[in-house]
Every structure is written in structure tokens, then in C-alpha cells.
Symmetry: C2
Subunit: 558 residues, 2 copies
Amino acid sequence: MIRSEWCPAGEGRRQEAAVTGRVVFVLRRRRRREEGVDIICVNCGAVALARLHARSTPPSLHIVDIMKQEQVLTVDNMNQRLRRVRYAVRGPVLERALHIEHELEKGVPKPFASVVRANIGDCHALGQKPITFIRQVLAGAACPQLLASPALPPDVKQRVEEILDDCTCRSVGAYSASAGLWSVRRAAAAWLAARDGTPASAHDIYLGSGATDLIKALLTVFTEDVDGKPSGVMIPIPQYPLFSGALAELGLAQVEYYLDEERGWALDVAELRRALRNASATCRVRVLVVINPGNPTGQVLTRENMEEVVRFAHEHRLFLLADEVYQENIIAKPFHSFKKVMYEMGAPYCDMELGSVLTCSKGWAAECGLRAGLLELVRVHPGVVAAFCTARALMQCPTVLGQAALLCVMKPPTPGDASYEQFAMERREIRRVLRERAATAHRAFNSIPGYSCNAIDGSMFAFPRFEIPERAQRAARAQGIEPDEFYCLRLLEETGVCVVPGSGFGQRPGTYHLRTTILHSRSQFQHMMDSVRRFHAHFLHQYADTRLDCTTDTSTGC
Amino acid sequence: MIRSEWCPAGEGRRQEAAVTGRVVFVLRRRRRREEGVDIICVNCGAVALARLHARSTPPSLHIVDIMKQEQVLTVDNMNQRLRRVRYAVRGPVLERALHIEHELEKGVPKPFASVVRANIGDCHALGQKPITFIRQVLAGAACPQLLASPALPPDVKQRVEEILDDCTCRSVGAYSASAGLWSVRRAAAAWLAARDGTPASAHDIYLGSGATDLIKALLTVFTEDVDGKPSGVMIPIPQYPLFSGALAELGLAQVEYYLDEERGWALDVAELRRALRNASATCRVRVLVVINPGNPTGQVLTRENMEEVVRFAHEHRLFLLADEVYQENIIAKPFHSFKKVMYEMGAPYCDMELGSVLTCSKGWAAECGLRAGLLELVRVHPGVVAAFCTARALMQCPTVLGQAALLCVMKPPTPGDASYEQFAMERREIRRVLRERAATAHRAFNSIPGYSCNAIDGSMFAFPRFEIPERAQRAARAQGIEPDEFYCLRLLEETGVCVVPGSGFGQRPGTYHLRTTILHSRSQFQHMMDSVRRFHAHFLHQYADTRLDCTTDTSTGC
């Protein structure tokens, strides 16, 4: 089934037809010869040799020759669950952005000079400077000869010694225990105990390659059918698409509860009840996921709200999985951990099971690339923990240098330490910038006609809502994509701003959002907001509903 | 169901009853008070408060109080596949070794001064020094201020610049692309092309958190039932238990083919045919795993043997998954990659699909703790690759510092570089020690009466076979464990030597093996071999078959 439409990502980037319904070809490998490129039909596996016309947009291809190839592993006999996984944060909009960057490098004229990537919560990629203390500890741990150098302060050396003492033969190149280095788990327990004023045990702490790794591993534990029904997991809508993706891969039923946008993305227990009731016919709901502070929604739950959620989980015997990775990205309201709230509520709530995740990719450290996170498993059955740990042991251990970074986060310099002044200054500045950007983003989006944006109390995202005219919605659907993806792709093509459509996170039907990070430099953010404002006005004008449309479709309300 | 037998791992270490059939209690959390410790029954979840008598061996506990607790998540309603995962490398023998180390620290008298850990292929943990070049690059990448220092040679700085130029905003704390940094993938492609003299494309290379991560991810692709049958994966016996563990977790059928111990662990195609034929009634075999060089068996396949394997895979339309992680741990015979062999065999074999893994945890780098590996996917359907990549994207990316180490392995210093002399000297020494230890281990095991050991041509393990008297076998089965596990636990208790029983890797029924690493210092290895020799003589004497046994069991042949 070779057709004449071509992958807009072009030149070796891969994209699947099913994602958009438009792309039927994918480049497999670019030959370094004059004849052209090898391409393969995503649907049937047929191979073609084609010429690339790279200067056209999207790049067009001319088929030269078609070969047949019989694959052992095909899209039909592969794991169909994997085919259902979607991850909008690194989805079609980013794919197109990467291609545009490539075009810009090659001199293809565009109405903008560079792409502004605002798709992912990656502070360092937006120019935030790493915390010096963390990086010095990493350098010392990797290369202990440097400990002789006066360039490293004494508290850095002390933290390096702490890590090396815990590594077999003092090498970060030796495997650690699967659950992580004991020194890091102990430091994490002390940090958690201080955060909550409740006991915390290093035995309950499991380190991983980022919070994502641990969340997926924990969800894997719940994949057993119960009473002949598949297990279900309640997730908020909008949600962070790791959850929907992992549920799809693991074959767990996704049970959606909506956050209330009108009330600052509040978590309404009546809505939890509705979602649970609706789902009960088709699955056995076992897990309640709460993302606090919200991603992409940026709200911070109140303590009262959390108590209601805990009571709900207890009443329905749900395992509470708290994604609390943005707890150190607090802008306005105070953060409470679910562990603390459950503990302080007393019996029977303080005896409930809980899984909570943290990471050094977020907060002031923001070390996404180092891949380190932790899971606290509270009151989980030790037989379950034993099986969980054996399965984790197959993967050996999380990266030891990532664990070293986590130790720095859990045990940062304190007043009197040689690094303290610089550390405190760097952390203060990161927090100040976050607060400033949150206020700016909130103001800026609400000042665009047709846009509205809730206050950002935590996280590093804005998730504004905007209108899409009925005509634009129809144009999108004619292309087989969601209206907000259509909007975001147009925004990208016209302004270079790369954001993630709300449909990638989920949203109430008929509403449209985008998620953007708010951590760009002030001038870049200003440029981004000006671009969005101009684009939106132009978009509304271009797709303004006309009298003609109203006669064929009365649902537009004009 | 609280009984008076106690977890021998003691004091907070967890162990599941099902593993050994002996342990019914597990310590949950040690209280820091006089009253004792909280413990939970693995089978029923009942909670007890108990006093610990730590100085007894194994530590005994006295129940003070029993509480009831109802868990939401139990061993019965958890993912039953996870409960079937076993990983002997970090299994009961290591658990017991860790406990003994703890006892030694506390002054509990033992017939040895320290535990000799020989359970895991972790060179740095056995005293091998890291390659200076790699560690300097890591330090520079983590802490670019150090680039101003004269301590780092110019080629180190150049490699650091290469990495930082490829990181967004020049920070290793920024996420990379999910498949890895382009610079590393490109260097890997060049390395693979040079290794094989065949084309290699950076587009076909996917980086991960170690080879384990990538092997499991690739096996996940094959979990779909075909023609109403579960998919099956052929693995060698003995095998590295990542495979059996991952198959158990993923619900793939394990199809075992035996390596021929009498012929130096050769891979016999007639045996492949037998295994395939036998399995065809219950599953649809789709993947053929080959581990070359062998782990735990240490053989290196001949080119002729590999060609037979390729023809077999082609004939039966099997996807070839080549675990080639020990390809740089070559002692005697030359290593050929499956990719090269397939390519050189010409059509139709050069058009077959292949997945091959490599890692920086093995070879001369041996950076286990950094967690970096790569998967080359050759001629895999792009629709399959697209779904694979989306699922990988959920996990964001492999650790960037691990990727930096992989870059150093794929692009080491070359003659003329400032670091070259030192690098070449360090690498030469590592290779020399490996060859020397392999010869020593081979000689030493064969000199023990009742032991035999094949030549070690590659990898870092010896996998000798030994006799276990019938009486000892019965004693083991009375305890509900395998005879070789019984043997290895006794070896540990009496000598402090911690090795992995052959049953953890699989072996022909009635044969017994152990796997040991061979990378200890010369004196430590000598001590270990002396311990094994003395222990074995004592063990044979202690369990010598008597006339009485022969009257009750004629199968012993006496």
C-alpha cells in the first residue's frame, strides 16, 4: 500500500501512520548515494527507493523503485499494547519541530529564526544553570583523583567520601544494591522524616532511573485480573501521559476523573465517585493516582481536599499512588505530602498503603539527564515488596552517579558548610525565577482574547485554555487530527513555538488547551507570548465562522 | 499463619517464603526501641511485634504481640508473573552473604574473616581500576568548570566538548533524545562498522540503561499471541537469568535448548531443532536468543557454528536476538558478531532481522554502575520501531553521563592523543589479567577431584561442574531447595565464598554447577580456590553414600 503522501518528519525520522492518519511512509535509512533514500511503507512493509526533494515543505519524495521484503516481526504480530502507547510530550509536534530545526540549519526560509521548545519540563535545556555543589560532587565521585585539588570545597569532598565509602571498592562503576545505595536511602529517609514530621524508614525507599521508571514498575504490580475483571487505575484528566502510556502498555484499564478547571483544577470527590461507579461494570478499580502539584495543570491540593481523597481511597480500598515530583516547585500554596496527611489523620487512615515518588529531575536540582528518582512504599505487604524487588534486581541497579545527585538533593549543604552560601544563592535564584515566570505566564495568557489560564501554584507549566473556531475544528478533523494538535502544529509552522496540545494530556470534550513550560528567559518568554498572541488573532480571523457554516451546522451557536 | 521459623536474612532484609519454602517471616522495619521489631508474615500479612536475638545464627525472634492488618495489595492479588521471577545472581545465596557480612561487622565469630563475593560480573567491585580517560571525561562533562584545569588532558577536553555540544544548553542535566545523544549513536555506528566491515547506521542504534534494559524492552515487543498461541523465546541452558526472569514477567514461553558441555558448551543445531519441535505444540516460537560469548558458560562460538544458527533461524522465521555483551572479554578464540556473519553470508541471510546488544558494563570499561548499553536493531520494520520508540520515550532517556561513558568506549583515545599511552597501558593490563585469571581458574577447578571445568574462551566467569553425593541431594530436597543451592549455601557458611548455584542458570538434570567470577586478585583467587578444594573434600566425606542408602535407593549406582 504505497501512496504518494510522505512523512513530514522526513530524512530518517520515524513516524507512524496511526498517529495522525496522514503519514503512510517512513524513511528507513538515508543512503549516502545519489539515487535517493530507502523508505518503507509503515502499513505493509514494502520497500521503495525514492528521491528526496528536501527543499519543498513538507519534503516530497518520488518513488524510483519498489521492492518486496518479508519481515518476521511486523506491526500485526508485535505487541499490540505497545502500538497503543502515545506520549504527546515527545509526539508529532516535537517531531515536526525537530525537522524544522533541521531545515533552518540548512537555510530553508521560515517566518522565524529559531524554534522555541516549550514542550518538556527540562529546566537545564531552557538555560537554568546546574547547582554547582551537585556537579562538583559528581565530578569528585567519578574521578576521585580530583579530591586532591583545591578546586573542590571540603563539604563536596565529604559528600564524595560518603558515596565512595558506600560503593564496593569505592568505584561508582560497581553495581549498587538494586534498591540503591544505603547511604542515599538513609539520607532520603531523614529528608522525608524532616519534611513530614513522621517516621520514615530507609527500608521503604527504592531508587530508580527517574520517577517514571518507578511509577511504571509499581503499576506493573497491579496488572493481575481480580474477580475476572481487568484491574483499573484512576488517573486525573488532564494527566501526565506517562500514566496513560504505561496503562496502555501494561493492559490496565484507564479510569478517568476530571479535574475541575472552573475551580482552579480542584479534585472533586463527587467526580471520583462518578468515575469509580462508571468504571465498576468493566473493571476492578484498584489504584488511585493523584498528581500533586498537578502536571500539566499546576494546582496544589489543599489539605482538606487531600483528606477527602484519602477517605475516598480508604472507603473503596484503593491503593494511593501519589506523583509528588513537583513538590519542590512550589509557587504559591503550601505543599503537603499524602504520607503526612494520612499519618496525621490517625487510624484507620494512617495504616493505609501508599506509594509516593520523588525525583532529582524536578525541584531546584532539575537534573533530568542524570535519571534518578525514589519511590517510598509505605506499609506495602512484604511479600509484594519481595517480588517487586526481585523483578527490579533483573535490571541490576539505578545509575550510581544519579544516586549521588539524589544524595545531594536529600542532603544539601547546610549553614556553616563551605558550599552553603553559593548553594543557597543559586537555589534562591531558581525559586525566584520560577515564581516570577509563573506570575508572568498567568498574566500573559489571560491578557490574550480567547485565552484563559488558572493560577499556577506549583510545577513549571502553564495549561491555558483557548477557543478554536468550529471551522478550524472541521479542518483539523478532515486531516484526522485533534483540533488542538492542528492549532499547535500551525502555531509551530508560523511562529516556531513548540508546545504540547491539551489532547495529549486529556481534557473535557469540547475544550482546548496547550501545555507550555514557563522557564524560558524573560526575553524569550516575552517573544513566545507575543508570538502566541499574534498567531491566535490571525488564526481566529482565518477560521472565523461564517453565515454559510451556520446554515450547515447549527451547533456552533451563531 | 505465624510460625516460629524466621527469616535467616534477618534485620530488615526481605525474603519471600516461596523462594525456599523455609522462610515464613520477614522483618518489616526495625524499631529503634527496646521492645523489639515489627515483623509481618509473608503468607497472610499478619503483623507481630517480636524480640530479636541477633547473636544466634540464624537470628531468632520471640513473638511479643500479634496484630491484624488487612492489606489492599496482597501476594494473591498482585501480578502473579512478578512472583515467578527469579534472579539467582542476586538471590538467596547473596542475601545470606550480606547477612553474614553484617554479622562479621558485629563480631559474630565465623570460620573466616570476610565474605568473598564472586556472584556477579562486576570488575570494579573486585578491585579493577576504572579507565582514567573515561572518568576524566565524566568529571569534565559533569563539571565543565574543570575544563580550565590543566589536570585534564586535551583529548579529554575534546571529548567533553563533543558531549556538551550535543546536550541541550550544554548540560548533562538536560534530557537527551529517548534513543540517546546523536554523537554517541554516531560514534557507535562507526565503531560497529569498523568492527564488522559492514555498514552501520546511527538511526538503527538505541541507547538504554544497560543492556538489560534494552533486552527486556525488545522482548516486550514479542508478547503478542500468534495463531492463538503464546509467543515463545528460545534461550540456551545454561543461560543468564535476565532472560528467564524477563520471560516470566512478560508471560513469554521459555523454550530451552541445551548447550553441549561435553563439547565445550557448543551450540548444536540438532538440539535447536529438538527444542523447537517440542515447543511447537504449546507455543509459537518467534525469537532465538544466543549469548556469545556465553554467560555463564564462557564459550565463544565458531564462525561455522554461527552460520548454522543463522540458517536455522532463517528456515524457521525466528528473530535473532544476540546478547554479545562480553565481546570485548575475549580470552582465546576470535569473536564474530552475528551481524557480520549474516552480512557476509549474503542473500537471503543478509536481509534477516537482528537485535544485538552491547554495554559499557563489560569489556575493558566495566562501568556497571553507570548503566549504559546499546541495542542495534538491524532491518526491523519501521512501524515496529516507531511503536518501540514511543514506548521508550515514556521513560524519557537513558542517563546522559552513562551515554558519555559509552562514547568513550566507542571512541577511545587513539595513538597520538595525549591520553593514549595511559589508556593503552590500562587496557592492556586489564586484558592481561583476564587471560591470566581464565587460565588459572580453568587449571584450578580441574585440579579438584570431582570437579571439571571447560576452557574459558570469553566472558569473566568459570562454570565448573561438580559431583553432589546422593545423600546430600536428599538432604537438600528435604529442605525444599536444589542440591547445588544447598552446596553453595554450605560453601558460604563454611568458607565465606559466595558463588551462584548452577540451577539459577539452568543445567541438564542431574548435573550440578556453580558460577564464579574469575577477576579477584591473584591472592584472593588462590584463597578462594583453596577454600573450595578443602570444602569439597569435606562435603564429599560428610555426605558419602553408605550401604544403608543403597538399600533404599538403587538409583545411586553403588
